[in-house]
C-alpha cells in the first residue's frame, strides 16, 4: 500500500517538476526542476522493480546529463537572465496542440483493453540484466558503444576552439 501512495506521490512530484521545466523563466531553475523530475522518474523505476535502470537513471541522467546541461547554462551565462522572456509567441497554439495530443493519447489508452499480469512488481536483479546485455544483446551493446565513442569525438571536435585561429 505504501508503495502505491509513494508511486502517486512521485508521479505528482514528477509532473509538477516537469511543468516547472517548461515554465520557469529562469532557465537555471528549469534545470533544477528537470533534476527533480528525473529523480522522481527514478523513484518510479525503483518502485516498479527496475533497480538497475534506477541506478542508471540517477547516474547518467542526474549525474551526467543534468550536470552537462547546467554547465552549458553557465557557459552561456546571459541566457540565465530573469528578464528575458523564455516562451515564444506560439504559446497558445503549442498549448492547444499539446492538449489535443494529450487528449488523443488518453483516448487511445482508455479505449485499449490491456490484458495485464496481476501481482506485485517483479524485481529484476542486475545479474540478469548483465547476462542479457552481454549474451542476447551483445550486438546492440557494441553498436551503442561505437555511437557513444562517435558522440564523444564529435562533441570534442565541435566544442573546442578553432586552433588555427
Amino acid at each position: 500500500m505504501i508503495d502505491m501512495y509513494l508511486l502517486y506521490f512521485l508521479m505528482i512530484f514528477a509532473a509538477v517538476s516537469a511543468v516547472g521545466v517548461v515554465t520557469f523563466r529562469n532557465i537555471f531553475h528549469g534545470a533544477i526542476c528537470l533534476g527533480a523530475m528525473l529523480l522522481g522518474i527514478a523513484g518510479i523505476y525503483l518502485i516498479m522493480g527496475a533497480e538497475f535502470v534506477f541506478a542508471v537513471q540517477v547516474l547518467v541522467y542526474v549525474g551526467g546529463i543534468l550536470t552537462l546541461i547546467l554547465f552549458a547554462i553557465m557557459l552561456t551565462s546571459k541566457i540565465a537572465d530573469r528578464s528575458i522572456l523564455q516562451a515564444n509567441e506560439q504559446k497558445t497554439v503549442s498549448f492547444l496542440i499539446s492538449a489535443i495530443t494529450l487528449f488523443v493519447l488518453i483516448y487511445a489508452i482508455v479505449k485499449t483493453p490491456f490484458t495485464t499480469v496481476q501481482g506485485p512488481f517483479i524485481v529484476v536483479d542486475t545479474a540478469r540484466i548483465g547476462k542479457s546485455l552481454f549474451l542476447n544483446n551483445i550486438l546492440p551493446f557494441e553498436v551503442i558503444s561505437i555511437l557513444l565513442l562517435a558522440a564523444l569525438v564529435g562533441a570534442i571536435v565541435l566544442a573546442r576552439k578553432d586552433i588555427k585561429k
Binding site: 515564444n88 506560439q90 497554439v93 503549442s94 496542440i97 499539446s98 489535443i100 495530443t101 488523443v104
Partner: protein, 611 residues
C-alpha cells in the same frame, strides 16, 4: 533515272550551301559554283527527259519519311512523268540562262554572292516542287519558292519600295497558300494519303461527293491563283518588279508564277471531276487576262508592262485549263517561260544601259543595241502570237480550244485580249527602240556578251519551240490524246488582229499619225481607270481599313484585355500566393515543429473519420 533526279535537285542545294557558308566572300567563285551546279542540273534534266521520251509513263520513287500517323504515312518522293520532266528542263534552262545573264547585270552589285545563293536556293525549291510526288512535299517547296521570291524581290532591301513589295508579295500569296493548305489537309483526311497517284485513284473511285471535289478544286485553285497572280490576288506581281530584272525573268515570269498553273496541271484529275471548278478557273483566267492586258496598255514602266503581260498570259493558261485545254495550257506555260524570260532579260539589258525603267525616257535604241532590239522583237512577236513563233502555236491552241469547248464569250474576250497583247508589245517596242531619242546626256551601249548570248539562245528557243507542238501534244495529254486541229481560220484571224494592232501601235507611237495625247483625252475616263489598275489596290486598302482594321482592333482589344488579362492574372495569382506562402517559411524550427505535431493530430482526426 532517280539518281539523275537527285543530281538535278541536289546540285543547286549544294551550290546554295557552298555559297552561303564558304564562298560568300569571293563573288566570282560564288557565281561560278552556282552556274556549274545549274549546268549539271540542266544536263541531268535533259537526260531524264530523253529517258522519259523513250518510254513515257509515271515513274515514282517513294521514301518513307514520317510514320507517326498510322492512317496517314508521310513520305518524300519523286514522280517523274512527261509533265514533270518537261518542267524540269524549262526551270533548269531558264535558271541557267538567267544566272549567266546576271553575271553581267548584277556586276558590281553589293549582294552579288547573296543573290547567287538565293537563286540556287530558288532553283532547288522550284525543282523540288516540280518533281514532288505528294501534296505535302509540294506544299513545302511551294512555301520555299515563296520565301525565295520574298528574298529576291527584297534583294535591294534598303530601298523601302523593294522591302514593301517583298512584303506584299509574301502576304498576298499567303492568302492563296492558306486555301491550298486547307485543301491539302482536307484531301489527306479524306483519302488518307498525300500521294498524287493514290489520290487520283481514290478520288477516281468516287469517295468524295461532287460538292467536296468542287470545294477542294477551288481551294487548290486559290493557292494557284495566289502564286500565279490571278485576279484578285494578282496585285503583288507588278510590285514585285522592284526586284532585280533577271529575278523578274526567272521567278516572276518563267517559273514560280507558273507554279500555280503547274499545280493545277498536277492535280488536274480533281478539276476534271468538277465542271463548276473548271468554269470558275476559265472565267477567272479569262477576266485576269483581259484586265491585265488592258492595264498593260497604259503602263509607262517597261517592267510593269511585262508584269501585266505576264499576269495576262497566266490568265490565258488558266483559261486553257478551264476549258479542258490541258495540253494547250501547259504548252503555253512552256513557250511563255521562254519568250517572257527573253523579254524581261531584254528589258533588263535596256535598263542596264540607261538606268531607267520609264519607256518615255528611251527611244531609238535600235541603233545602239541591235542584238537586244532584235531579240526583244522576237520575244514581242512570240508574245503577240505571230506566225511562226512559238507563241503563235500555243496561244492559238488555247483560242481554238476555248472556241471548241463552246465558251463563245470567253473566246471573244480572249481574242480581244490577244489584240491588246500585240498592241502593248508593239507600243513598247516602237517607243523604246524605234521612235525619237528622248534621253539626253546618256550613251546607251550594247550589253556585254554574257548578257546578250542568253538573249540569243532564248530567242532561238522562243522561235523554235513552236515546231514541237505536235510532238508535245502527243507526249502530254490528259485522258486521251488531243490531236491538234489544223484549223486555219482562227490562226489567220488572230494573226490578222495582231498585225492590225501592231500597225495601229506603229501609227500612234512611231509615225504619230494619231496623237496619243488626244486619244487619252478622248477616253479620259477609260484611261484613268486603266492607269489606276481598275482601282483594285484601292479596293484592297478600303477593305483593309474598313474591315480588317476594325476586326483586328477588336481582336487586339480582346488580346490585350482578356487574353493578356488572363495571363497577367495567372501571374498575379501565382506571385501573390507565393508571397503569402513564403511567410510560412519562417526559418524558425519551432514553427515547423508545430506543423509536424498539428499534422499528426489532423491525421489522427482523418483516420477516425475514415472509420
Amino acid at each position: 533515272m532517280f539518281e539523275l533526279t537527285a543530281t538535278v535537285l541536289l546540285c543547286p542545294l549544294a551550290a546554295f550551301v557552298l555559297i552561303t557558308f564558304f564562298t560568300g566572300k569571293s563573288e566570282k567563285i560564288s557565281s561560278l559554283v552556282s552556274m556549274v551546279a545549274m549546268a549539271v542540273s540542266l544536263l541531268s534534266s535533259l537526260l531524264i527527259f530523253a529517258l522519259i521520251l523513250s518510254a513515257p509513263g509515271d515513274y515514282e520513287l517513294k521514301i518513307p519519311w514520317i510514320n507517326i500517323l498510322k492512317d496517314l504515312p508521310i513520305e518524300m518522293g519523286v514522280l517523274l512523268n512527261p509533265v514533270s520532266s518537261v518542267m524540269l528542263m524549262v526551270v533548269c534552262t531558264v535558271s541557267l540562262f538567267v544566272q549567266i545573264y546576271s553575271v553581267g547585270y548584277m556586276h558590281n552589285d553589293e549582294g552579288y554572292s547573296k543573290y547567287y545563293s538565293f537563286i540556287s536556293l530558288f532553283s532547288f525549291s522550284m525543282l523540288g516542287l516540280v518533281i514532288a510526288n505528294n501534296l505535302l512535299q509540294l506544299y513545302i517547296f511551294w512555301e520555299l519558292v515563296g520565301l525565295c521570291s520574298y528574298l529576291l524581290i527584297g534583294h535591294w532591301y534598303h530601298k523601302p519600295d523593294a522591302a514593301n513589295a517583298a512584303k506584299k508579295a509574301f502576304v498576298v500569296t499567303r492568302f492563296g497558300d492558306f486555301g491550298l493548305l486547307i485543301a491539302v489537309i482536307f484531301l489527306a483526311c479524306k483519302t488518307g494519303t498525300f500521294n498524287f497517284l493514290e489520290i487520283e485513284r481514290v478520288i477516281g473511285s468516287g469517295i468524295l461527293s461532287p460538292a467536296a471535289v468542287t470545294a477542294v478544286a477551288l481551294l487548290i485553285f486559290c493557292g494557284a491563283a495566289g502564286k500565279s497572280a490571278q485576279f484578285p490576288l494578282h496585285i503583288w506581281l507588278p510590285d514585285a518588279m522592284e526586284g532585280p530584272t533577271p529575278i523578274s525573268a526567272l521567278i516572276h515570269a518563267a517559273t514560280m508564277v507558273a507554279a500555280g498553273v503547274y499545280l493545277v496541271i498536277r492535280t488536274y484529275f480533281i478539276f476534271d471531276l468538277s465542271g463548276t471548278a473548271l468554269s470558275v478557273i476559265a472565267i477567272i483566267g479569262c477576266s485576269t487576262a483581259f484586265m491585265a492586258g488592258s492595264i498593260a496598255i497604259v503602263q509607262d514602266d517597261i517592267k510593269k508592262v511585262l508584269a501585266y503581260s505576264t499576269i495576262s498570259q497566266l490568265g490565258y493558261m488558266m483559261l486553257a485549263l478551264g476549258v479542258h485545254g490541258y495540253t494547250a495550257g501547259y504548252f503555253h506555260l512552256i513557250t511563255h517561260a521562254t519568250f517572257k524570260a527573253l523579254l524581261f532579260l531584254g528589258a533588263g539589258s535596256v535598263i542596264h544601259s540607261l538606268h531607267t525603267n520609264n519607256i518615255w525616257e528611251m527611244g531609238r535604241l535600235f541603233k545602239n543595241m541591235k542584238v537586244t532590239a532584235v531579240t526583244f522583237l522576237i520575244g514581242g512577236l512570240a508574245l503577240s502570237g505571230v506566225y511562226p513563233t512559238s507563241g503563235f502555236f500555243s496561244k492559238d491552241a488555247i483560242l481554238i480550244q476555248t472556241l471548241e469547248s463552246g465558251h463563245y464569250v470567253l473566246f471573244a474576250v480572249a481574242f480581244l485580249t490577244a489584240g491588246f497583247t500585240a498592241f502593248y508589245m508593239a507600243r513598247v517596242f516602237f517607243v523604246v527602240f524605234l521612235s525619237k531619242e528622248k534621253f539626253s546626256g546618256k550613251h546607251p551601249h550594247e550589253s556585254p556578251a554574257v548578257m546578250y548570248v542568253p538573249l540569243i539562245l532564248l530567242a532561238t528557243l522562243a522561235v523554235g519551240l513552236g515546231f514541237f507542238s505536235e510532238g508535245f501534244s502527243r507526249l502530254i495529254f490528259f485522258g486521251k490524246i488531243n490531236e491538234p486541229e489544223h484549223a486555219v481560220l482562227i490562226p489567220l484571224l488572230s494573226n490578222l488582229s495582231a498585225i492590225g494592232a501592231i500597225v495601229l501601235a506603229w501609227a500612234i507611237y512611231q509615225k504619230e499619225l494619231i496623237s496619243a495625247a488626244a486619244l487619252e483625252q478622248r477616253f479620259a475616263f477609260v484611261h484613268k481607270f486603266l492607269k489606276n489598275k481598275y482601282y483594285i489596290d484601292e479596293m484592297y486598302v478600303f477593305c483593309v481599313k474598313n474591315i480588317l482594321f476594325v476586326v483586328s482592333n477588336a481582336a487586339g482589344w480582346f488580346d490585350r484585355h482578356i487574353v493578356d488579362g488572363a495571363v497577367n492574372g495567372a501571374f498575379y495569382l501565382t506571385s501573390s500566393a507565393a508571397g503569402a506562402l513564403r511567410k510560412l517559411q519562417t526559418g524558425m524550427v519551432q514553427n515547423y515543429a508545430v506543423g509536424i505535431f498539428g499534422g499528426v493530430i489532423l491525421l489522427w482526426f482523418f483516420m477516425n473519420m475514415m472509420k
